[in-house]
Each structure stands twice: as structure tokens, then as C-alpha cells.
Amino acid sequence: MPHELFEWQERIKAVEREHSATRLATERLLAEVERDPTILALESTIRVRDVRFASERLDGTYIIRLFAEFETGLRLCWNVIRGRDPPNRTRDLLDGVAASRRIPHDVLSQSHVVREYRNALIHERDELPAKIAISDARGRLCRFFSFLPPDW
């Protein structure tokens, strides 16, 4: 199946838009249940605290999704342009793509910062690195992606 750079960047951006929609919905719901907890009565498995947790963890959830789109695109690109399986370790994947596409070091290191933050979220490390906003992460990953071929 052919892939286009533009489409993969659009997929990354779409995750950010989805986050914005979900953030709005979660905040509205949270405000409403705090005002009137009985609106959850019909959905007996959902508690107010579940809504609160969902809201608190939303940004992290979407950082993980954002990076998943980015990594999937990179792995598919590697398969096609290098004709072999990509490395298992994501760090090596980014370094390898950066080397073969001559991606500037600062663009690579900015993407590694997102990867490390994603790893900290997934592995629930006690000490999280500095928080990265969704828009910031999207910008870093789209910039890295822009160095890939227009199609592959």
C-alpha cells in the first residue's frame, strides 16, 4: 500500500484535534457531574471519580496515541525505503531514520524528548520528565516527519 507523507502528518494532527474535542467533552461532563452527580445514575458503572481521572489523565493518554501514530508511520517508512525490518527499539528507529534522512540533530533530540515522556507515561515512572503539551509534541513529531520522502 503506498504511503504519503502528507497523510501521515495529517493523522498526527488529527489526534491533536480529537484530543481537543475530548478535552472539551470531558470538562463539560466534569462540570456537570460536580453540579449534579445524579446524571451518572443511569450509567451505574461510571462514578464521578472516573470522570475526574479521565480528565486528569487525558493529556497523557493522547501523548501516547500521538506518538503511536508517529512510530507506526516511521516503521512503515523504514520497511519500504530500507527494504528490511525496522529496529525493535524506538530510540534506534528514530536515530536510524534521522541518519538516513539527514535530519538535523535538534529536530531528532526534540523528538526523543517526546519519546522519553511517552515512555515515562507508559511505565508509570515515579518521576515524570517535564510535562509536554499536546500541541508541542505534535509540532516536534510533525517537524521530524517532514524530512521523510513525500511518498513511499
Binding site: 502528507f6 502528518q9 498526527i12 494532527k13 484535534r17 481537543s20 516536534r140 516527519f145 517532514s146
Partner: protein
């Protein structure tokens, strides 16, 4: 430029909706492309694969704009939104930073942008709007270029 992959159960109404939307988009891209060229921006049309729960899969026109090292993308987002019959975003590339949003309301495109001198808001879409014109486009593109430099 715009192409269509109609769902099997397409009927005349859905086809009409799709054609109206693609016509509206194509007319917007034509206008923005013309103004951008007059403002010394180079342009390139591309196609974007779209998916709509009502009208199915189709391809819509998008527009890449470039002036020196500053690059933008006029990107179709949705055929409908509350109070609007079409949403198109303008991004600063390659990071896809939000610059402005265009909403088709009451038969005309409205440009939502944090124009200089207006109160700051949480998102571009809740910002002040002005009718899309060559002058409002020029203001947005000039500020985009200044910020990208």
C-alpha cells in the same frame, strides 16, 4: 482536482451534498490561491483523503502556500459543524501549528484569527472573525511569515 469515491448506497441527495461541499471548497481554494499569488506566495494544490459519516469517502482539494522559508497549508477539515457549513484550517508547516480557521456561515467564509489588537482567547476558533478577503488573508499571511522567521 477533487475526486469522489461514492459509497454503494449513494443516493441523489448525498451526491448533491458532496458536490455542494466540494464546489464550495474548490471555490475557496481558487480564491485563496489567486490572492496568495498576487501577494507573492507560491502555491501548490494537493488532494486530501476525507471521510464523512454521511457522504462517504472522497478526496478534497488542499493548498500549500510558500513564501521564502515560510510554508502554510490550507486544509479542509469538515463539511459541517454547529452553525457552519464547512470548516477549513490554516496551519504553519511543517509543525502543523494552528494559525487560523475558516467557517462557511450564511453563505460566506469567515476567518477566525487572533487579529492584532483583539482580546486573546483560548483557541483560534473562539477568536474574533472577519469576512475572508484579500486584505484579511494578507494580514494573516504577513503575521504568519513574521512569526515563522
Amino acid at each position: 482536482m477533487a475526486t469522489v469515491d461514492p459509497p454503494k448506497a449513494a443516493n441523489a441527495d448525498l451526491e448533491k451534498l458532496r458536490n455542494e461541499w466540494l464546489g464550495r471548497l474548490t471555490e475557496l481554494v481558487d480564491r485563496v490561491e489567486g490572492w496568495a499569488r498576487e501577494l507573492d506566495w507560491s502555491t501548490r494544490r494537493i488532494e486530501k483523503k476525507m471521510q464523512d459519516s454521511q457522504i462517504g469517502h472522497y478526496k478534497a482539494p488542499a493548498l500549500v502556500l510558500q513564501n521564502e522559508t515560510c510554508r502554510g497549508l490550507l486544509d479542509p477539515i469538515a463539511r459541517s459543524a454547529p452553525g457552519a457549513e464547512g470548516v477549513v484550517d490554516l496551519y504553519l508547516m511543517p509543525a502543523y501549528d494552528d494559525i487560523a480557521s475558516l467557517y462557511f456561515c450564511d453563505g460566506a467564509w469567515q476567518l477566525h484569527y487572533m487579529f492584532a489588537g483583539t482580546s486573546s482567547v483560548a483557541t483560534i476558533r473562539t477568536g474574533d472573525s472577519q469576512p475572508l478577503s484579500k486584505e484579511t488573508l494578507r494580514a494573516v499571511l504577513e503575521e504568519m511569515r513574521a512569526n515563522a522567521a
